[in-house]
């Protein structure tokens, strides 16, 4: 049987042949976000995982602060920080196998880095030397997507294609609370469910879409409740609890891998910085609100657990910090070098082969640059603009 024929074969029948519609309970999220840290369940978590998550969270936070610092020095055009959301970013990266794919949104540079991308290459978009600084196929990380929610159907299509080819590949796609309002969110989730594609959607509900709070974005009981309308399970998780996010995503990935279809996960978290360095969050939220969330910091939560269980001594902390500092120093240093740019790139990748028109335009630019540089200029050709 082919992949597509496996689908439930609904045929319209009149009553009395009607069957009661499936009980939606298995699709509904819990009333409160799932948490592990600070609960008994934490005790059963593999210490290695805790340590790995911790190291990545610290590194991630450092990455965020370093990148923000680089915007102040004019070395980055813009940086949408994920400070406060590192648990989601890191768990999303760690939960995947090498062969799986990650579909980040514009805020998720960190997830890409945690997945193994070069920290500088990952910043290419935001530095402004090119749109994407890495080969997506190398680490199976799609380009950071700026148009919100548009990458979700890509994730569905890729996961579906992998399944059609018989490959054991799962796609994990990230989107914000604001992004859930877009039509592409809806269409992606619907295709995923109809096709039973091996894809997991992680909504990082950080309370805001730039200045717009969640209450103006949705009237739903939770974003995870949207799953019901697609016939896929919805899960609600504490987005600052790295272990809980890792667990919930892990279950969803496993389910997708086993042919069980897509899952929608909502992680409740908070954006601790302004939308980007260019934003002024004083205009739309109170300091007190931000402060209240500081008590629920993802790194502190995990540190408590590790310390409490005696899994983290001073040396370990120091090692983790040093690693993070080394990464930051390397990032700083390499970002302080001007990237080497080739204007010819403008024309080289529009098509597999430049059109005659692009070749003309490239020649025009080359002549201009030569003239600027004082090199002998070719005669301008004909009437080409």
């Amino acid at each position: 049987m082919t992949v597509m024929e496996q689908r439930g074969a609904y045929r319209p029948t009149p009553p009395p042949a009607w069957q009661p519609r499936t009980d939606p309970a298995p699709l509904l999220p819990d009333a409160l976000p799932h948490r592990v840290l600070g609960t008994r369940a934490a005790e059963r978590v593999d210490p290695d995982l805790l340590r790995r998550l911790y190291a990545q969270l610290v590194r991630g936070r450092r990455y965020n602060t370093q990148a923000t610092a680089l915007t102040k020095q004019g070395r980055l055009a813009v940086y949408p920080s994920s400070t406060g959301q590192e648990a989601c970013e890191v768990a999303a990266a760690l939960v995947l196998e090498e062969r799986d794919w990650l579909f980040p949104s514009y805020r998720d540079t960190l997830a890409a880095v945690a997945r193994g991308l070069d920290p500088v290459q990952a910043l290419t978009l935001l530095r402004g030397d090119w749109h994407t600084g890495y080969d997506p196929r190398e680490h199976r990380v799609a380009p950071l997507s700026t148009p919100l929610a548009t990458q979700l159907p890509h994730a569905v299509g890729l996961a579906h294609a992998a399944r059609l080819k018989g490959d054991d590949v799962v796609a994990l796609a990230l989107v914000g609370d604001g992004g859930t309002s877009e039509g592409d969110f809806h269409e992606a989730l619907n295709f995923a469910a109809v096709w039973q594609a091996p894809v997991v959607f992680l909504v990082q509900n950080n309370g805001f879409a730039i200045s717009v709070p969640l209450a103006k974005q949705t009237a739903a009981p939770s974003l995870a409740h949207k799953a019901v309308g697609y016939g896929m399970p919805g899960r609600l998780v504490d987005g600052n609890d790295a272990v809980a996010v890792h667990e919930v995503l892990g279950e969803a990935v496993a389910r997708a891998r086993a042919g069980g279809g897509p899952t929608l996960v909502e992680a409740v978290t908070y954006r601790m910085e302004a939308h980007t360095n260019a934003d002024d969050d004083k205009r739309y939220r109170e300091d007190a609100e931000v402060e209240a969330w500081r008590a629920h910091d993802p790194i502190a939560l995990l540190e408590q657990e590790l310390t409490g269980r005696g899994l983290l001594d001073e040396d370990a902390v120091r090692a983790v910090r040093e690693d993070a500092e080394a990464m930051a120093a390397d990032l700083r240093e390499r970002m302080n070098q001007d990237p080497v740019l080739d204007p010819a790139d403008l024309f080289a990748h529009v098509y597999a082969r430049p059109t005659p028109q692009l070749l003309e335009q490239e020649a025009l630019l080359r002549a201009e640059l030569d003239a600027e540089a004082g090199r002998p200029e070719d005669e301008p050709e004909g009437n080409a603009r």
Partner: protein, 335 residues
């Protein structure tokens, strides 16, 4: 050339055959869209494909054009070659963000690392008595979007040859199918070996000395008819079928206009901001001193596509083309 008895086939059938052959040649080719499977498409272009290749490769999607194109992008990212059908021209609009922001840009965005071999088939244009939203000529939107190839056949054999080329292309191609030519037939013979027609080459469909009609898609047969009718007026018109709007074959077009010294661009799409302006401007840039008169345009009016009972007034017809030819300043002022 044809020696065996020709079994005429329609353009719709030739397109279907191109899809079939492409799918048979390359397992990466997938067909998807609304009603393309079981039904075989509302124009029956995909008739029989689902039966032959199965639902996994010929897929009836949910009714959501952005979703169709967006998932096709993902499939192409994984190495497939999706061929997407948009049911009618205006129903491609919901997919424009995917088309403009991703399909057209993915290769460039990734410095060539992530090409998108993806074909978007769009039945377009009027003349079939369709109600609102079923007769748009939307090529202006596509040609203004760098990263897309834009192709449109006017003959049955080009329909086959260009669609094969589109599917084989490593770049996204918007493949515009002139709806009212779906049922047209010509000498194309499905029994003969088939040729792929490379994208980017215009063709002179009729040679002539007096003036050049530059056109494409549904207006090609109209221009050929006009050229025949023009003989009575003493004009010997050349007709150039562009076939590919992007890339544009400047060479063939300019060579023709340099020979004839006069040109009229003909298309159904609205005039203002339509392809005709680009074409007239390029031709003038290249042939200015060969021109006896400004390049004129015969296009659809600058109005929303009219209802069926009024569409004949809107569509460029033989008379309107000849009227334009008549305005090409034959009593040449000395220049």
């Amino acid at each position: 050339m044809t020696t065996v008895a020709v079994k005429p086939a329609t353009m719709a059938q030739a397109l279907g055959r191109a899809l079939r052959d492409a799918m048979a040649d390359d397992p990466a080719v997938h067909v998807m869209g609304e009603d393309v499977g079981t039904l075989g498409g509302v124009f029956r272009v995909t008739d029989g494909l689902a039966k032959e290749f199965g639902e996994d490769r010929v897929t009836d999607t949910p009714l959501a054009e952005a979703g169709i194109l967006g998932t096709a992008v993902g499939m192409a990212m994984y190495g497939l070659r999706p061929v997407v059908e948009m049911q009618f021209d205006a129903f491609a609009y919901p997919a424009f963000e995917q088309l403009l922001s991703h399909v057209a840009k993915m290769r460039n965005r990734t410095r060539g690392a992530m090409p998108l071999p993806l074909t978007v088939r769009v039945p377009y244009g009027g003349g079939i008595g369709g109600v609102e939203h079923h007769s748009d000529s939307s090529e202006a939107y596509y040609i203004a979007t760098p990263g897309l190839h834009v192709v449109t056949p006017a003959t049955v054999s080009d329909a086959y040859g260009l669609l094969r080329a589109a599917i084989a292309s490593d770049d996204p191609v918007v493949f515009l199918e002139p709806k009212r030519l779906y049922w047209s037939k010509d000498a194309w013979n499905p029994e003969e070996p088939q040729a792929v027609e490379p994208i980017g080459r215009a063709v002179v469909r009729r040679t002539g000395r007096s003036a050049t009609l530059i056109t494409y898609g549904p207006s090609v047969p109209v221009c050929l008819e006009a050229a025949e009718a023009a003989r009575a007026e003493g004009w010997d018109l050349e007709v150039v079928d562009l076939r590919s709007l992007v890339p544009f074959d400047d060479e063939t077009v300019a060579a023709s206009v340099r020979r004839t010294g006069r040109a009229v661009v003909v298309h159904e799409s609205g005039g203002f901001g339509g392809p005709g302006g680009e074409i007239a401007a390029r031709v003038t840039e290249r042939c200015f001193h060969h021109l006896e008169a400004p390049v004129l345009r015969v296009a659809g009016f600058d109005i929303p596509y009219p209802p069926p009972m009024l569409e004949r007034h809107h569509l460029p017809g033989v008379d309107r083309i000849l009227d334009a030819v008549a305005r090409l300043q034959w009593e040449a002022q000395s220049r």
